[in-house]
Symmetry: C2
Subunit: 406 residues, 2 copies
């Protein structure tokens, strides 16, 4: 007997037929003698409609009222899921965040879970009842409904799995797992059987939008065994687990890319202590996140070129912040460039293997692709290249690292 949390995303509960299919998966676990917690998102499209209502209600937005409105989507699905399970002869009931309760802080729209009271849920699970939880929401210290941010149902599921010490947390979605690369770009991409939390975090933060980054962090912190799998077929998904549990580690698990970056070069910045702080301080104050940074060696000992990347959406704001301070920063010219892509090879295996970065640089060079900026972490090497080379870079790297499907 095991305790399983199953989370169904919006496309997996988009209508009653899909809800029935999802319920059958819960039933299968229940029939096998397992204790089952089902976490549901809103039916696909519902949250957007509710957000549209809120948006058209006026410019002033009280986040607590926003949460009151949009959380109703998951409330609806939770009741329908409980009813559907009951119709299949499975004892089930819906639980809203304030009924459990799932206690959060009062940061409406992006609340963080503080505590989940599990006593009653554990009793119900012990009695063979399926516990159906409305995802995405919590209740604030002021007894108001909070939401956990877009995609927060993943976080709800992982938090419940942690609090209930579940054996596994299955995330049912519209893709069947985590791939070595985006299969829409690299046809030979393979589904991974297993990936570590750290790798998944890098993949997620680089644009592989299978899981909300926060839910992966939480799973890592509480050692929750996550599985990403498809609602639409029976194939096994990808397990996201602790590094120690994976016996044979691949050097590289996957290659991610992002076209959401833009590059800024400040030409002839004075080369003196404190200059970096005087540039990046104002950007941080403007809530602009800087990712890759490279500072060239000074030619003449008095000035240097500084290049860095920001989110493409933040480019205009970043330019404005820096141009406003041109006098003080004393750079010669600001060169923006949003015609870039970031390519990252990710793998915990590179901790114990040398030459991973070298192979990346060689492969790109062989393909005539110029590297503009490089940044590395313990399990990742990222490079910035011209955007038009994205597909070519991904495919050639996928082959070079032996990731192609047999």
């Amino acid at each position: 007997m095991a305790r399983i949390v199953q989370k169904f995303g919006g496309t997996s509960v988009v209508d009653m037929e899909h809800i029935r299919n999802a319920a059958l998966r819960a039933k299968a676990e229940h029939d096998s003698g397992n204790e089952v917690v089902v976490v549901v998102s809103a039916m696909s499209g519902v949250t957007n409609r509710l957000v549209d209502y809120v948006t058209s209600a006026g410019e002033l937005c009280d986040d607590s009222e926003y949460d009151t409105v949009v959380s109703s989507g998951e409330q609806i699905t939770s009741g329908l899921m409980a009813l559907t399970l009951q119709g299949m002869g499975i004892p089930a009931r819906s639980w809203l965040s304030w009924q459990i309760p799932i206690e959060t802080d009062a940061a409406h729209g992006k609340a963080r879970i503080r505590r989940i009271v599990v006593d009653e849920l554990e009793k119900r699970l012990g009695d063979g009842e399926v516990v159906v939880v409305a995802g995405f929401q919590g209740v604030s210290p002021e007894n108001r409904i909070t939401t956990l941010g877009r995609g927060g149902s993943d976080t709800s599921a992982v938090a419940l799995a942690a609090a209930l010490r579940a054996e596994r947390c299955d995330i049912y979605t519209d893709v069947d797992g985590v791939y070595t690369c985006d299969p829409r770009v690299v046809a030979s991409a393979r589904k991974l059987d297993k990936i570590t939390y750290e790798e998944m975090l890098e993949m997620a933060s680089l644009g592989s939008k299978v899981l909300q980054t926060r839910s992966v962090e939480m799973a890592m912190n509480h050692n929750v065994c996550l599985q990403v799998r498809s609602s639409f077929d029976e194939s096994p998904g990808t397990l996201i687990i602790d590094e120690d549990t994976i016996v044979e580690k691949e050097v590289i698990s996957g290659i991610a890319y992002s076209r959401d970056e833009a590059k800024i070069t400040l030409v002839k910045v004075p080369d003196r202590p404190g200059v970096a702080a005087s540039i990046f301080g104002p950007l941080a104050d403007a809530n602009i996140n800087v990712d890759m940074i490279v500072q060239n060696v000074s030619d003449d000992g008095t000035s240097t070129d500084l290049t860095f990347t920001v989110a493409r959406d933040d480019l205009d704001r970043a330019k404005a912040v820096l141009e406003e301070r041109q006098g003080k920063l004393a750079y010669a010219q600001l060169v923006p460039d949003s015609n870039v892509a970031k390519i990252s090879v990710i793998g915990v295996g590179m901790r114990s293997r040398v030459g991973v970065a070298q192979q990346m640089f060689c492969t790109l060079a062989e393909n005539g692709i110029n590297i503009q900026v490089i940044s590395t972490s313990e399990i990742k090497v990222s490079v910035l290249i011209e955007e038009k080379f994205t597909e070519q870079a991904l495919r050639s790297l996928h082959t070079a690292y032996d990731l192609d499907a047999p």
Copy 2:
């Protein structure tokens, strides 16, 4: 300064434009220095869609899950109303039943309100905040969402008005008041300025579907001054108040009709004590409500004909119950007839005036309309006639009782 409860029905909050119009009415009261409680229904159509979902979830219906799903409609409107008021510069917040709480029994789908905790609401009202309440719902002793039955937002509004000792409870709807007769049938029908609770109860129970009967009963019991008025124009509506408050009473306030009845005649029922009980007992056991009853005088001292009415929807079940017992009841024949209409003249003035019933009978006779069954109460005379005479009966009675608009 007064304390006002405003309730907006589904057609009054059907989209954001209507919600804004409704909010303007709340703003007007607030701007006049009044304390304002706004009770909202679900946006018209939303509840039906939610009910459809629940229905298609399976035949087994757990009423508590039903309530979880359908109550979300009012939750959405309450948040949108609060946001809209805030956008107009009016401090406002939404309140869900479990946040107040509005405590009910556990009779899901038709719960009765036991207690409303008003301390915090009174504090907020005192601070000038508009209190926006999601109608139609409460919270059970088991901490689950309950609903009060279709149209239950009226009940929510009246219960809040009673608990908060509000000066007036305005029910905004898609009609502009209570009329002397259905204006779709009788073109000369007049809007009433005032009507007593008792008269309104008779009107409501006879098919004038302006207000849920239960909300009128509750208003009468707690002496809440109700006003029915239109969301769509500025005309004053109809006040529903205590009889003592109305100085000049009309003899007849209105004429109601219902086509929802059916007649059953049992021919040659043995004329002996206990026969009525042996007929109506099984019907009551089958939860079939019997309305008008007439028993003819026995011709021969041994048998009689018995005629009564039931809701048209119950006719088949009533027939089945009685036919099953034909041997025991020993009637000769059962004659069903759903081709009937019930016409009622209503007025508290008839307590002190004679001849009201006589005038009804004469008017119908002059029009060649046969009366099949008669029943009377203190403030009402009802007759059953052939359905095709409905319009003719209503119009001629409306004129005979001097109700026509000048």
